[in-house]
């Protein structure tokens, strides 16, 4: 008996655009989009609004995406900008809550400032506690600047993808990002501590 090492099978996977196009005729194909991105979108919303809100809004993101899948631009191979755009729009409906969250994180990471028990537990056991200066800086950005900054930093979207996600010109992406970073650096710097 000879038992050779076996080959690396050729992983093949349809692009998001192919999957979404297929889902126009066969809606259940959309499950692939959920599988690929639900965790990422959840984490993005978690950073912005907290875990409890993320549980609801990440689900809502995919419902909205599914309902509007016939409007997806098939020339874009990746659905990430589209999904992050939907998520950002949902977050925008809660921008006051978002700012409150950052302010709370900036004041303290103690149990009293966090929304629920689960988050307190997670924050105690993890390194996932946002630096207060960073939170303070994010709280003081405009909603538009924050959208751009977080899509670039968290989702690692390109200028072009951010522009597509938010429906703004690429030049605006660049200027918002510059402004946000400058402002953030100033706030962080004024706190006298480096990140």
């Amino acid at each position: 008996m000879t038992a050779p090492l076996q080959d690396a099978a050729p992983p093949s996977e349809d692009t998001d655009a192919q999957v979404i196009e297929a889902s126009w005729r066969d809606p259940d194909r959309f499950g692939a989009v959920f599988d690929r991105y639900f965790a990422s979108i959840h984490r993005y919303v978690h950073l912005r609004l907290g875990e409890s809100a993320a549980d609801d809004l990440a689900a809502e993101t995919f419902l909205r995406a599914f309902r509007s899948r016939d409007r997806f631009d098939l020339t874009c191979p990746s659905a990430r900008p589209w999904l992050y755009g939907i998520a950002s729009n949902l977050v925008a409906d809660h921008h006051r809550a978002e700012a409150r969250r950052y302010r709370a994180l900036a004041r303290s990471v103690g149990a009293g400032e966090v929304a629920n028990h689960d988050e307190r537990v997670v924050q105690r056991v993890s390194a996932a506690v946002m630096q207060p200066r960073l939170a303070s800086g994010l709280a003081r950005l405009s909603a538009g600047d924050r959208d751009v900054l977080l899509l670039v930093a968290c989702a690692q979207l390109s200028y072009e993808e951010v522009a597509a996600a938010l429906g703004i010109p690429q030049g605006t992406v660049g200027s918002r990002l510059n402004r946000a970073r400058k402002r953030l650096r100033k706030i962080i710097g004024s706190a006298g501590e480096a990140l």
């Binding site: 008996m1 000879t2 038992a3 050779p4 090492l5 076996q6 080959d7 690396a8 099978a9 050729p10 992983p11 093949s12 996977e13 349809d14 192919q18 999957v19 066969d26 809606p27 259940d28 194909r29 959309f30 499950g31 692939a32 959920f34 599988d35 639900f38 965790a39 990422s40 959840h42 984490r43 993005y44 950073l47 875990e51 549980d55 990440a58 689900a59 995919f62 419902l63 599914f66 309902r67 191979p77 990746s78 990430r80 537990v121 997670v122 056991v125 993890s126 390194a127 996932a128 630096q131 960073l134 994010l138 900054l149 670039v152 930093a153 968290c154 989702a155 690692q156 962080i188 990140l195």
Partner: protein, 361 residues
Amino acid sequence: MNELEAIKGHHDSLPGPAPEVTSRAWALLTEEAERAEGGHPERPLGRPRGRRWVVRAGVAVGLAAAVTAGMIFVRGGDESVPFGTAPAGAAELLRHAATVAAREEVQPGPGQFLYVEQKDVTFASDSEGEYTQDVRREVWMPGGDPGKALTRSTYGRTTVISGGHPEHVQAPGTVEYQRAGQCRGGFSGLPFQAADLPGDPDRALAKVRQEAETFVRSDQRRRGEAGLSRKEIDMRVEKVVASSLLRLAQNPLTPSRTRATVFGALSKLATVTVVPDLTDPAGRHGVGASIKFETPGGGWERGELIFEPATYRFLGYRSWIGQPEGGQVREIPGASTAMLTVKVVDSMPEVPKDAGKPMFC
């Protein structure tokens, strides 16, 4: 660290959605899809049929499961895992492992790669005898284009089990590169993939069993076998079920949620037992879930999934083959794997221009 890196670092350290959150979101989407189709409640939203992320290695079932190198997040609620507490049995161990696996997600973005490093010990035999060989295997799986995946194998020492020193073996230090799609065929794939599994462990197990039955009957016709007893068919079905679940459980490219489902499905099998102390090929001790199944011809195979005792994090896999010989059954080692690293990286190596074709391709 600049401000963008600080934000990214914080973002990446956040836990992924809890399994019940994902399940709820999935259920909502399924309902929506059913409405879109005019109502077919019996037809759940499908997993991506195109997903075929299977990188294979070793003798019996392939690579080991992915483990996030990062922190295990502890949540309250019904799904809490009592870390550090010895499980009462294999089912409990696997349920804990499922809960932990569901929370581990390594998701490369565009331009990034899922990087997996593992130590494999492969078993082989030829006319010279039997031997095992250590192989360090690394896989880079692009986030946006899995068709460009790359595997690098660095061969280590050979250990002779019986006979003389094998001639047809890679010398220690030999490095091979293998691109996705380079080595087609040569693998008798089992009939289901991660993408086909429902999220619920009971339904997943039922589906695996149903497809195993179909596979066994088809295989029986292909082999020209007639008149197999029900017992023989059942035995073959159970073998395919166990092999399939083990293969999915240990594959580092199986999505974490699917791996959790597979651990859950394995926990339903009455033949799984707990082994208090097992050692993976990297020498790490862990608690094991062992499943043994008969094979045609009077032999058997045994697969052992090894978990870190304190956290139920997946460490590695070992397998053993019981080979009938002269009226007795001789135990020989199968493939084993220690999962060393799973992380997202920003680049993958270039394949050297003078790299040869892999030996086993």
